[in-house]
């Protein structure tokens, strides 16, 4: 299968991008060292080592290129599916779903980088995208091929229900990565660390706010995904809700983030607590996505 080669290439490019982003962090120099006393330099380019900027640019380029390949891989897979079974959704099994999630994570990251001009986030978020892709490629070969769909999945609902739900997972993954980043930065700040590594990190408040934004994107998307799933179930199985483990776990994840959003709005769950909660939530997402499929039985067992 041609798509498997492309998925493979994507994996390696994401690995390279991750390496470059980490290298970029090390190459950055703290502003204080370069700025003459009393003359802080506003312009970011000026205060970096010459090759830090270049590393950052290459990292972005490699990420974008990897994402293009990821897109190509998914498209190729869609054509392969079309040939085999007449449906094209390139997220019809665990492997494809993982590849799609990493596609969405990287897309989210690239948009974030272009909008907010923060490259340091790449080391964490691209990292998670890479891990998702890596985990997919570790799946046994029989999970990776485009087997025809079982009759229950053979429906146009798969295009919308699965993609929306997976996109929400990607948003939660980004929030998890940002939460981790927050904790790193916070530790450095608390220790008064002058390490160059943290120089490129945005300030704590920005990391916190970006993580919150990611959750605010994922939360309604997950609700929409669950509801689409309920509509599909009502159409295919004759009941919109049957407390199947996957349904229940997606509801649990939704409730967990619901608690967080309410806590944040009024009880001021910011910063440290929010970061830990975002990581916890992401672990729950991972369980909902992976754990349920492999540990619990249910109607979604074929995924």
């Amino acid at each position: 299968m041609r798509s498997l080669f492309l998925f493979d290439m994507t994996f390696w490019l994401y690995l390279a991008a991750l390496g470059l982003y980490v290298a970029y962090l090390f190459a950055k120099r703290p502003a204080l060292q370069l700025a003459p006393a009393g003359h802080p330099i506003d312009h970011i380019e000026e205060r970096d080592g010459a090759w830090a900027t270049q590393l950052g640019q290459v990292a972005t380029l490699v990420t974008v290129f990897g994402w293009v390949l990821n897109t190509l891989a998914l498209t190729t897979r869609a054509f392969e599916r079309m040939e085999h079974s007449g449906t094209f959704a390139p997220w019809s099994n665990q492997f494809e779903a993982m590849a799609y999630v990493s596609w969405a994570i990287i897309l989210g990251y690239v948009l974030l980088e272009f909008r907010y001009r923060i490259k340091a986030v790449g080391a964490f978020v691209v990292g998670i995208g890479f891990i998702a892709m890596g985990a997919a490629s570790l799946l046994p070969y029989r999970y990776q091929t485009a087997e025809p769909l079982v009759p229950a999945l053979n429906s146009y609902w798969i295009y919308i229900h699965v993609s929306v739900t997976l996109t929400s997972y990607a948003a939660f993954a980004m929030a998890g990565g940002l939460g981790l980043m927050y904790l790193f930065k916070e530790r450095a700040v608390n220790r008064g660390s002058q390490s160059r590594f943290y120089a490129a990190f945005p300030d704590l408040e920005t990391i916190d706010e970006l993580g919150y934004k990611a959750i605010m994107l994922g939360f309604p998307l997950l609700a929409f995904g669950i509801i689409l799933g309920a509509m599909w179930a009502n159409y295919a199985w004759g009941g919109y809700w049957s407390w199947d483990p996957k349904e229940t776990w997606s509801l649990i994840v939704w409730l967990i983030y619901g608690a967080y959003i309410h806590a944040r709005m009024t009880r001021g769950w910011l910063g440290h607590r929010a970061a830990i909660y975002a990581i916890f939530g992401f672990l729950m997402v991972i369980f909902c996505f992976w754990g349920v499929n492999f540990l619990l039985s249910g109607l979604h067992a074929y995924a």
């Binding site: 079974s85 025809p148 009759p151 605010m216 309604p220 004759g238 409730l255 009880r267």
Partner: protein, 476 residues
């Protein structure tokens, strides 16, 4: 939902009454409790935790299954706590009910405030109020009070803000607001919870869900709809690699004796008639009927097979060259015999011990109705008969599994779901922001005190605020 300025305006409400625990104070306390975010968070977390139980422990199994897996003592506890059917226990339902009460009380308590601020706003604020805001700036401009005020109003209006200005002697106060729909959205989402739960209740009280095992060619009465359903055809389509692509049943509804609707249903494509939905749910081998059976006829004396016949269901067949007429009248997939009722039945739906009953007519003199077994060819022998019959193969008859359901609450659930998605999207995409500008004339030009607040999206607002400040500063 409440940001600081709201809390400030709430404080204009009458303070705690002086007379101990009056009714008013009590009811206010109750509302306070049920509308609290603390309760909401508690419910979210507890619901999330208890919901996991049902995913770890299999739900609705037979007692033996639990005893086998967890032991008798554990099973007794499971029954006491309702762990074998968690989602229908009184305590789980109560938690859901409380969540509805919680969101409704929250709506009752907070929505009027949102509604008021949609219609009328607090324009006049003190200077200290502006200076106490998270985003605030002080600008000095050379222009006249009126020119600056006009510019600020135009700028904000261009940005999509709703702007109100108030001219007091000596100063002008400008108030601008945008994105109130973000807050309305949150309340719409809150209301949706109750609507979804009500729709669910409606469905579980007035709806039904049944499973029907149906055979091709048969007609079944659907008492709940008072009409008949005929299964015209059932078949399976396969992919190239042999896996099942789809399974389909052609159904005809017969209402008052006349066929009124025909549809081929398949998974993901049900038939709907008079509010009752027929879903293609499963298929399998029938346990009380087969298409055809193959019988070896052995001569008792020579122990030789003299003929092999294929019998169709319930059709008499004369065997070529032998003085025999045979018919297959019954089939059971897993043979069992009820000795008190003297009845043969199928123990399970599995084809574990298939047997057929033959009606044999030999030379028109010896008539017998033997059961012959697929796995045990030598079990019975017909006395006086010259032949022995062996059941060596059969073609199973496929049944089509139909899920039959009606759910009168479904529309309500979908309405609630739509409200939930729309409300959540509004509240996460749009954020409510408010700006105040106080323009105070000084000895050379004016001083503009600008302050702004939002309940979320701080960095975006910070950016916007900075841009606005620059625009006010630079343009003039």
């Amino acid at each position: 939902m409440n940001s600081k300025p709201d809390a400030a305006s709430d404080s204009t409400a009458p303070g705690p009454s002086t007379s101990g625990l009056g009714w008013e104070e009590f009811s206010r306390e109750v509302v306070e409790f049920f509308a609290s975010i603390k309760l909401a968070m508690f419910l979210f977390i507890v619901l999330a935790m208890t919901a996991t139980i049902g995913t770890v422990i299999q739900q609705g199994e037979r007692p033996e299954t639990y005893v086998q897996e967890y032991g008798e003592e554990a099973y007794r506890w499971f029954v006491r706590l309702g762990f074998t059917d968690v989602y229908h226990t009184w305590w789980f339902t109560s938690l859901l009910g409380l969540l509805c009460v919680n969101s409704l009380t929250c709506f009752h308590k907070r929505f009027p405030g949102v509604w008021r601020s949609m219609r009328q706003d607090k324009v006049s604020v003190s200077l200290a109020f502006i200076q106490g805001m998270k985003q605030q700036a002080t600008l000095s401009l050379k222009q006249s009070k009126e020119a600056v005020a006009e510019h600020v109003v135009r700028l904000l209006a261009e940005k999509g803000y709703r702007v109100l200005a108030k001219s007091d002697p000596g100063e002008v106060t400008v108030y601008a607001t945008k994105g109130i729909m973000g807050r309305v959205g949150a309340h719409v989402a809150h209301l949706s919870a109750t609507i979804i739960v009500l729709g669910g209740l409606l469905g579980s009280y007035y709806g039904f869900q049944e499973f029907g095992v149906c055979l091709e060619g048969q007609t079944y009465h659907i008492p709940r709809g008072n009409f008949d359903l005929r299964v015209d055809k059932f078949w399976i389509d396969y992919h190239e690699n042999g896996s099942v692509k789809s399974y389909n049943s052609t159904l005809t509804v017969i209402d008052q004796g006349t066929p009124t609707a025909t549809k081929t249903i398949t998974v993901n494509d049900p038939l709907v008639y008079k509010g009752i939905w027929f879903y293609q749910s499963s298929y399998g081998d029938a346990w009380d009927q087969i298409e055809a059976a193959r019988i070896n006829i052995k001569e008792k004396n020579s122990e030789k097979i003299v003929s092999t016949v294929d019998l169709e269901w319930n059709k008499e067949k004369a065997v070529d060259g032998l003085p025999l007429k045979m018919k297959m009248t019954d089939f059971v997939a897993d043979f069992a015999f009820n000795s008190t009722e003297k009845k043969v039945f199928s123990k399970t739906a599995e084809h574990a011990n298939p047997a057929i009953r033959l009606t044999v007519d030999e030379r028109s003199t010896i008539q017998s109705t033997p059961w012959v077994f697929y796995h045990y060819p030598d079990l019975f022998e017909i006395k006086d008969s010259a032949y022995q019959f062996e059941f060596i193969g059969y073609q199973p008859k496929k049944f089509t599994g139909l899920q039959i359901a009606r759910n009168p609450g479904i529309m309500m659930v979908w309405i609630g779901c739509t409200m939930l998605v729309v409300g959540m999207t509004l509240s996460s995409v749009i954020y409510h922001r408010r700006l105040w500008a106080k323009i105070v004339p000084g000895h050379s030009g004016v001083t503009v005190h600008l302050g702004g607040t939002t309940h979320k999206s701080q960095i975006d607002f910070q950016k916007e605020f900075k841009k606005l400040t620059e625009k006010i500063q630079s343009k003039i």
